[in-house]
Point group: C2
Chain length 454, copies 2
């Protein structure tokens, strides 16, 4: 085999120790909140049968699934006719498995397969990578982590309150100012009904979702193409222009949706969530009812959530909502669920940009023991063992080398202290401890060293 | 899309919350030891270019790599001629990427690609899944975690001492009695040389590795087939039959290998590792020099390690060794390294079989708040918030339901306490706390509840 310049596969990344420390800080913070709210960990395999994945993410999603070539002689039964039939039909002959595209469909598969063992309501969190054969670009990767919490088996709106509470707690822990946008699929349905476009709410939502980006006129144009009448667009006008507090919005909607049962149900749900959240003790200042929020909408049936960072130009950093019938696809009907997903890569970038990482995210050793005199190595090894026995992250420079080189090593590695051990130290059973940041040093006994670094 | 009975891909597994708790205990234990010894986390992508993976694991390994179908119209340029050329050549036309097969080759790629930023010696640990298209069987999976720690950029034997210390500490934490077997590639080379089969050490090692399983006669038979002379086999006899303490073995080898420079170097290395380990303070009672240990050997150049559980019939539960030239393959020569890999799935099974999991591996909520009277929900929500604000894992049953059902739920979920809140409790601003295991209950103020569960 020839020597080669190796490279990463497009859209994938290595995470160096420095990046890992920051990522672990993010994961640990979110995980701790999930657990405090009663969610338990679940992991599903990266490889799923394509029968589980295909058809769950729309036609584009099917294209973006990474598909795994069957093992063994996969091409044995392929003929020219198969080739002529095109790559899509060929794929089904030579590939039976694919990589997880999100955490939601595997979760639905798990719930469906284990329905008899699971205690419902089932609260699980899942932190694992997913894969999408998207065109890589800045901030978009082909392999990235998702970080989800879901409750299935209940339609209680207390779960929505928990989601708001978790979002607030996670981002407060990060010290990040955010806005939580909330909407309800039933309100969107009600709006469609009220403007005389019943059943057209998907097209309405897809268009209205772009209001921020393309503006009112372009949205109206898109809706016209989709068959919305002038009269419907006329009636829709106040929806675009309306602003105000959540209370004012709910008042407005109560009037606007007075003839839509669905719409009224949506308003009542939002109101109930706000009421319970307030009773629970949440401050709803950063929660905003946004009646244009749709988030794709394909499977949401109730609440819809989205979080944005206040002080950074960045897409949504978390999102979710209530869905019914996700496990229907796997033969288990009647399971309502609600979930939230944190966008770890974007949160990482926001924390970086706002310089919000705590200092302690470095996970280096606390102390490096010097190794420049082979004669005193026995004493140094004993000191090393004492430190570790007392739970202190410690290491010795593995080779006998000049002290200067070792000090540079400690500096580059971000190790806080250097324990210098020479002949004098060994003779007096003591250690010269150098504070790498301050440059100060002091002579300590082994016991004093252990105590200082504990 | 039709409803379907979903299934897992062959050789893959879901990890339920119960299993996750046990696995996290294993990972956390190993990770804590890695960090205490100065190793830092690294993660590499699951997807690698096949050019990085192919040719690194032998021909069988190439076959066992999971290969990913190229995106888009991969079959456009395929002709009947390509089909006729067979699936191996076809694979290279329709697949450029594969799934990580182990953590070592991606690590070598990372080191090679980032040589200018890395501070050597570089100590990293990596805990991630790998994939192999092996035939699944009991205890063998197609997707499984590896858990590795390696130091590269130094040939200091202090690193080998650290590995022995880490192995002892990890398994002591698990409460598991083990034997650490150690050997040295140079000793194996020396043996080959001493019996007049210089350069034949690979065949010698492969055969000798099977001694436990197939016995001396079968090993000799295999060696004969491989071209070992009768005289060589005659000289080899004492190697098979020799037993004794490590000191006795080293004495024996000193005599046996007196004419092999390589062999003498191997003995000196083992001796140095034992000496330093003893100085450091390790008890070497469970460390055994095993001159038949080879572990595939393909890339080991110095120390070879293997760990077995003493009280369970199970293959090795950890293994590793020193290698030189791993990054040679990627154009970075002269980097010596040594590493250890923990077999998490087997450790899981051993801990299960010996019933060694601590009780606290359950990660359920500590308390479930009842919800059987909608009138008192506001009080219950405030209690819930108080508990969580004080860091207590707590949840409320999301639906208003009969208390019996909720007690069953708490029981099945393994939640330790049920906080019963009815009209009386709400009126007196107190909670009836039921200990689920003992069945006892007591009336507590909110403050007393928080204190008791903190």
């Amino acid at each position: 085999m020839s020597k080669q310049k190796p490279s990463l596969a497009r859209g994938t990344r290595d995470f160096s120790p420095e990046k890992m420390a920051k990522r672990q800080y993010i994961f640990d913070t979110i995980r701790a909140v999930f657990q405090k709210f009663g969610f338990q960990p679940l992991e599903t395999p990266a490889i799923e049968n394509l029968s589980v994945l295909m058809g769950k993410y729309g036609e584009e999603g099917d294209q973006l699934l990474f598909k795994i070539l069957n093992s063994g002689n996969f091409s044995e039964k392929i003929s020219q006719t198969d080739l002529d039939a095109g790559y899509k039909s060929l794929t089904s002959q030579i590939s039976e498995k694919g990589l997880r595209y999100d955490l939601t469909v595997p979760f639905a598969r798990y719930v469906s397969m284990n329905r008899s063992e699971i205690t419902f309501p089932f609260k699980r969190y899942q932190i694992q990578p997913v894969w999408r054969a998207d065109r890589p670009q800045r901030g978009r990767y082909r392999e990235f982590y998702q970080c989800d919490a879901d409750v299935v088996g209940t339609d209680s709106l207390l779960c929505e309150v928990d989601i708001i509470a978790m979002l607030q707690e996670v981002f407060a822990s990060f010290g990040m100012a955010i806005t939580i946008k909330i909407n309800n699929r039933k309100i969107l349905s009600g709006i469609a009904q009220s403007i005389g476009a019943l059943g057209q709410e998907s097209n309405l939502a897809i268009a209205i979702d772009k209001l921020d980006k393309i503006g009112k006129d372009a949205v109206n144009e898109e809706l016209t193409v989709k068959g919305f009448t002038d009269s419907a667009l006329q009636k829709l006008t106040p929806i675009f222009s309306f602003s105000g507090s959540n209370v004012q919005k709910l008042d407005f909607l109560t009037d606007f949706l007075q003839n839509s049962e669905q719409g009224k149900k949506g308003i009542a749900e939002v109101q109930q969530i706000f009421d319970w959240a307030t009773t629970y003790g949440l401050n709803l200042e950063n929660v905003e009812l946004d009646i244009t929020l749709a988030r794709g909408l394909s499977y949401y049936t109730g609440a819809i959530f989205e979080v944005k960072a206040n002080n950074v130009a960045m897409g949504s950093i978390a999102g979710g909502g209530r869905y019914d019938g996700l496990t229907d696809l796997f033969g288990l009907p009647g399971v309502s669920g609600v979930g939230i997903s944190f966008g770890v890569d974007r949160i990482y970038d926001v924390l970086d940009e706002l310089n919000l990482y705590p200092q302690s995210t470095q996970n280096s050793s606390k102390v490096l023991l010097s190794n420049f005199d082979a004669e005193v190595l026995p004493f140094a090894l004993k000191v090393l063992n004492s430190l570790r026995t007392n739970g202190i992250k410690a290491e010795i420079y593995p080779e006998t080398a000049k002290l200067k080189k070792q000090l540079e090593y400690a500096d580059k590695r971000g190790i806080a202290y250097m324990a210098v051990i020479g002949a004098d130290e060994a003779a007096s059973h003591s250690i010269t401890l150098k504070n790498m940041a301050k440059g100060t040093q002091e002579l300590l006994s082994v016991a004093a060293l252990v105590e200082k670094l504990s």
